[in-house]
């Protein structure tokens, strides 16, 4: 997955045309299709169904384990297939019919693509969960959870990334070294300590590696911004592990950070104006869902940020901690790119890994260095998921 040279590049530009219509334009390195218009209402409704199906999958897995969630994955694929249909459902009067592009894409079966969605920050659709083949061909049996049967989710099939800002932020041309990497973690102490107790031995070894090198947690919004400001705003990775929804994160019972408060603090402290582009990992519930005011998507797509990794639905606390830990290990210690890490984690921790989406520059990476090779052998989806959601 790290080698993108064998993949053809496709850019899908999705812009707001008016309050109810989206303009979709497909282009490659040397070609482009005329744009077509689709109904925002239809796409939004279908994406809600996708998220609902994903939420159902997570909740049922927490209750009865993910090992017998085949029917739920099938439902998710069905919703993803509807989203696929909605993406090509062009309005009359468009310069080209969406079906023409869909048919062309179908003819490319077997080709590998690097698919980059460039999206208006007011449009919050889980593009990675688009499923491009009719899942009616699959059994949908509870036991049929094999990832090989569900390879047509676009986040598995293509090297897919979504970006809310069209431009590459500062500092992306040069990879930062591990010595210079600055990680700032904002953590809900209660949720974190509860989940930490459940970690297995191999996980603990990795936790200790990450902790010794990069772990510098802040347990309140005040501490977070004070530290961020004192570091000159120069942070490469801002990692949140806390309760959240689309526009609020809670670092404590009485310590909620709303979108407005976040934006004000960023502005007041002159953060996000620095050359180092900051990646944000919002490891809480539904952080990628967004809301009409823009949510965290907007903030993490602003100048000074290189985007974010978020969740499309609720996530169990232990699963989230382990997933986040694995991400930190591969990103900070192993120097792998976001694209490679997310692909690996999605496959390894299937199916709950579908809850995570990337909305950032996919090739962002830290320079690798000599580190002990540690492996997460377990599928986090198939062990203890947690005591509650984030």
């Amino acid at each position: 997955m790290t080698d993108l040279s064998d993949r053809d590049f496709i850019r899908v530009k999705i812009a707001l045309h008016d309050s109810v219509t989206l303009k979709v334009a497909w282009s490659g390195k040397s070609w482009e299709f005329p744009p077509y218009l689709i109904d925002l209402g239809v796409v939004s409704e279908v994406s809600q169904r996708v998220r609902a199906a994903l939420s159902h999958l997570v909740k049922e897995s927490m209750r009865g384990g993910a090992a017998r969630s085949g029917a739920l994955i099938h439902s998710l694929a069905q919703a993803g297939f509807d989203l696929y249909g909605a993406l090509f459902l062009s309005q009359i009067g468009s310069e080209i019919s969406g079906d023409e592009i869909r048919l062309w894409l179908q003819r490319q079966e077997g080709k590998l693509f690097w698919m980059s969605f460039s999206v208006d920050n007011r449009v919050h659709i889980p593009w990675g969960l688009v499923y491009d083949t009719d899942p009616a061909q699959l059994s949908g049996e509870p036991d049929d959870t094999t990832i090989e049967h569900y390879q047509n989710f676009w986040c598995l099939k293509h090297a897919l990334s979504t970006m809310y800002s069209r431009m590459l932020p500062f500092g992306l041309q040069e990879h930062v070294s591990q010595e210079n990497l600055r990680v700032l973690a904002a953590v809900n102490r209660a949720a974190f300590e509860t989940a930490l107790d459940v970690l297995s031995e191999p996980d603990r070894a990795i936790w200790e590696t990450v902790q010794s090198r990069f772990w510098n947690p802040k347990y309140s919004t005040r501490e977070l911004f004070d530290f961020w400001k004192s570091s000159g705003g120069d942070v490469h990775l801002l990692y949140f592990y806390c309760h959240a929804n689309g526009n609020t994160i809670a670092l404590g019972d009485d310590d909620e950070l709303t979108m407005a408060k976040y934006k004000l603090n960023i502005r007041r402290n002159g953060l996000g104006q620095h050359e180092a582009s900051c990646l944000v990992f919002l490891n809480g519930c539904s952080t990628a869902v967004g809301d009409p005011s823009g949510g965290f998507l907007e903030a993490a797509g602003a100048p000074g940020f290189s985007g974010f990794i978020g969740t499309e639905t609720e996530v169990p606390n232990v699963f989230a901690l382990r997933f986040g830990l694995a991400f930190l290990y591969y990103f900070c210690c192993k120097g792998q790119s976001i694209l490679a890490i997310m692909d690996r984690l999605r496959r390894q921790h299937w199916p709950l890994s579908l809850a995570y989406s990337t909305y950032c520059y996919p090739l962002l990476a830290v320079l690798p260095s000599e580190m002990p090779a540690l492996e997460f052998e377990e599928n986090f989806s198939l062990t203890q998921l947690g005591t509650g959601v984030m």
Partner: protein
């Protein structure tokens, strides 16, 4: 990185003088990399629909846009309205003028009248943009309708945006002109309509962005208008293009001498073959910053470096080093803008074969004509005005300019000189396109204004003195003649005093006539006035007149003449030795 076939090669000149950098000069633009990325990021953000890019005079907004931001944005998948059917790079800058909506309508019509071909994986597709404008009738009818109708223009942009795959960006250059030009009722109407258009545009969501470039001095006024018209503040962002720091100036100076590869174009040093003596770029940059130059450092930097390059240039293929001495011989950084203007006008006189003696006066006459284009604002800033060719022709005729108007315009608006910029403006009443001119750079306006002020001061003093001189001369003549008349009948030894009376009469006559003829006056005044004042007992005045700076001003013309004669002779011999092609092309120039 450009592919081999796309590479246009290095521009002919490493420095642009007063001309701005274009897309083809992108590899020469240095020191603005962070601004390009910062500004592009701001514009790339989905919620930014209107970006006000502002900076002080001479900070290089035009070059930044053309050679920096636009090529960068195009690579990132934005689309600009192109000129001349070119799909790449040539962005249409809608020059604001006093009626930006009309310019916008004109640009859009010309853009949409062409079919837009695109290469898809399933063959060539043609997007017929013309359908969007065809329903509004002919070009004239369209301009009539859309030129002052904000809603119609917004609707058309919406339609175009829905047909084009990339995000369209409109650049309104010299945005301050909408505030500074045409301060009449007619101008007010056009102004209101423009802000109404911004308001109407901000109420929509379609895939198009507007970039308005303007001078920081007018940013507040512009924002005020924006607020008055209730333009959605969420849509508007601004970016201040700061003045270049010393380090950035050094990088801009050194870029054509860099030995490394630049943007895939190769090494500029291999192409231009020159370099600077060690520490010279730093010296030029620090001199530029220490002088606090009105009109900005960048135009002066460009003029200084361009002149250094031209003066020291060797035969093609031979490398050379620009030394500290070359810089000293140029006379440092001060006064370079004035000298540049003087040189361009002198060259124009020489090319048009004016006698050497007439050159200084002709240069002054054209400066007077150009002054029509320098507009002083109430806040003390100087902006460029836009005048029709007819208005300038009348001004040239009034000044009794010797060089044909068309030839002069052609020379002054040429790529090499860039003293003027041609702007075609559509008249609101007749809807006819009129040829107009503006100054090539606001910094020239400042030079002209300073020149006018100095000249006015000098003329005022000179006129007053000349008037007094005429009275004094007349009185002296009368006194001399009366003395002679009175002395002659007395006879005897009184008769011997008769030459004294005659002397006074003749001396007075000299002064009297000096008061009439400017050339004589300057010479006589400079030579005798201090002495005369001393005799009259006006010692302070005599001291003032003998002060070197005042004498310099008085002697400016004869001295300049000598300088011009020398320069003219050198250039004339150079011209004579050049090929006959030059002469042929001169003959081919239109003569009004």
């Amino acid at each position: 990185m450009l592919s081999e076939s796309q590479k246009p090669g290095w521009p002919a000149q490493p420095y642009k003088g007063l001309s701005y950098y274009g897309p083809e000069d992108a590899p020469l633009l240095a020191g603005r990399e962070h601004d390009v990325v910062g500004c592009a990021n701001l514009l790339g953000f989905s919620s930014t629909r209107i970006l006000l890019l502002h900076g002080s005079t001479g900070c290089g907004k035009s070059s930044f846009l053309r050679a920096g931001l636009i090529p960068y944005l195009e690579d990132a998948g934005f689309q600009f309205i192109p000129e001349d059917g070119e799909r790449r790079v040539k962005a249409l800058f809608v020059r604001s003028t006093d009626c930006p909506l009309m310019k916008l309508a004109e640009g859009l019509h010309d853009f949409a009248s062409r079919d837009f071909e695109m290469e898809t994986p399933i063959g060539i597709r043609t997007i017929k943009l013309s359908l969007a404008v065809a329903k509004h009738g002919t070009r004239e009818e369209f301009l009539e309708k859309a030129g002052n109708n904000a809603e119609l223009l917004t609707e058309l942009l919406n339609e175009l945006a829905s047909k084009l795959p990339k995000t369209l960006i409109l650049v309104v250059d010299q945005g301050e002109e909408v505030l500074t030009l045409e301060p009449s009722k007619k101008g007010d109407d056009a102004r209101e309509e423009f802000f109404k258009f911004l308001n109407s545009f901000s109420r929509t969501d379609f895939d198009l962005k507007i970039l308005v470039a303007l001078r920081t001095e007018y940013y507040g006024k512009f924002q005020n208008k924006v607020r008055q018209w209730d333009v959605d503040p969420v849509d508007i962002r601004d970016y201040l293009l700061g003045d270049l720091t010393e380090q950035q100036l050094v990088r801009a100076i050194e870029r054509p001498t860099s030995e490394g590869d630049v943007l895939g174009y190769g090494s500029p040093h291999d192409h231009y073959k020159f370099s600077f003596a060690e520490g010279l770029p730093q010296k030029i940059a620090s001199d530029l910053l220490s002088k606090n130059l009105a009109g900005g450092t960048l135009p002066v930097l460009q003029v200084v470096c361009d002149r250094l390059y031209q003066k020291t240039k060797k035969q093609p293929g031979i490398g050379w080093v620009i030394s500290d001495e070359d810089f000293l011989l140029l006379g440092g950084v001060e006064g370079q803008m004035e000298e540049n203007l003087e040189h361009v006008l002198t060259d124009m006189c020489l090319i048009n074969r004016l006698p050497n003696a007439e050159i200084p006066s002709e240069v002054d006459r054209w400066k007077d004509v150009l002054c029509q284009l320098a507009k002083s604002q109430v806040d003390g800033t100087v902006t460029t005005d836009v005048r029709t060719a007819d208005e300038l022709l009348i001004a040239a005729e009034k000044q009794d300019c010797r060089i044909g108007f068309e030839r002069a315009m052609q020379h002054l608006a040429s790529e090499e000189t860039r003293i003027l910029r041609r702007v075609d403006v559509i008249r609101l009443d007749t809807k006819v396109s009129v040829r107009c001119y503006s100054l090539g750079h606001d910094a020239i306006g400042l030079v002209l204004q300073q020149w006018t002020t100095k000249r006015k001061e000098f003329k005022n003093v000179a006129n007053r003195t000349r008037l007094r001189l005429r009275w004094l001369g007349g009185a002296t003549v009368c006194f001399g003649l009366l003395a002679c008349t009175a002395l002659l009948p007395l006879g005897g030894e009184w008769r011997e005093f008769w030459p004294v009376g005659m002397f006074w009469a003749l001396y007075g006559l000299l002064f009297w006539s000096a008061g009439w003829k400017e050339d004589w006056y300057e010479r006589i005044l400079a030579a005798t006035l201090p002495l005369y004042m001393f005799i009259l007992g006006k010692r302070r005045r005599a001291r003032m007149l003998s002060d070197s700076s005042f004498r310099d001003q008085i002697r400016q013309y004869p001295r300049l003449r000598k300088r011009f004669e020398k320069l003219a002779n050198a250039k004339r011999s150079a011209l004579n030795s050049s090929t006959t092609v030059t002469e042929d092309s001169q003959r081919g120039l239109p003569h009004s």
